[in-house]
Symmetry: C2
Subunit: 136 residues, 2 copies
């Protein structure tokens, strides 16, 4: 269970509106960014809000052998929330996680990002007082 959990809220996303509005496009992006050495997609589930005439955002998750990616979009606010948790069961997958994370964020082209990083599953004595927070 030890591993890195990357968390972000993306604001003012300047990507193509389709990426925020279309569950198929979002699913394709998520699968693509998870197809890097070190990450192993096992299954996925995505849901379309609204309909094809009036799409209202999309939401979904990719289950990885290393844990999960979860994405939710708010097209009316040009906003996205992201979670990527990658455990280190057989090897340290942090580099793979950060590579996928960067590709995912780049795809949404946010004007502002607020994020957190958690090191999960540490021996409890090794936990910091609070996880690191960052924004750019």
């Amino acid at each position: 269970m030890h591993g890195l959990h990357l968390i972000a809220e993306l604001h003012d996303c300047r990507c193509a509106p389709r990426l925020l509005n279309d569950a198929g496009a979002l699913r394709e992006l998520c699968l693509t960014v998870c197809s890097v050495p070190g990450l192993t997609p096992l299954a996925l589930v995505f849901h379309q809000f609204g309909d094809r005439h009036q799409p209202a955002g999309a939401t979904g998750a990719v289950i990885l052998a290393e844990s999960h990616l979860a994405v939710h979009t708010w097209p009316e606010a040009q906003a996205v929330t992201l979670d990527l948790y990658v455990c280190n069961f057989s090897q340290d997958n942090s580099v793979a996680a950060r590579r996928a994370w960067r590709r995912l964020i780049d795809a949404f082209a946010p004007g502002k990002l607020v994020g957190h990083e958690l090191q999960r599953g540490l021996p409890t004595a090794a936990y910091p007082a609070a996880p690191a927070a960052w924004s750019d």
Copy 2:
């Protein structure tokens, strides 16, 4: 996107081994705890590691109208990681989230729990320096 994200690692889980080892049992638990007023399950995906003769843990996610629940088990360590992110699109769903969270944790009966709470999607100026961390 504003909402509460509850995060935990459960150690020394004293629940029935089936709950850590069987994807069907885990899925049933997750759906049950998400069936509370304020949470709306839309879809789910669960994966069984190993096979029915030698199960090796389970992993999955429930996509909610309010965001998601993700669960991963490590039966060899009697451990579980949990994430429940519940946004407040039309109403404050924090009470529903905490109710589901408590039922989920109680089901695993952990001897030790390490957790974090994040308030996500706040106006960026309102973010605390770091999210609250807690353990019991």
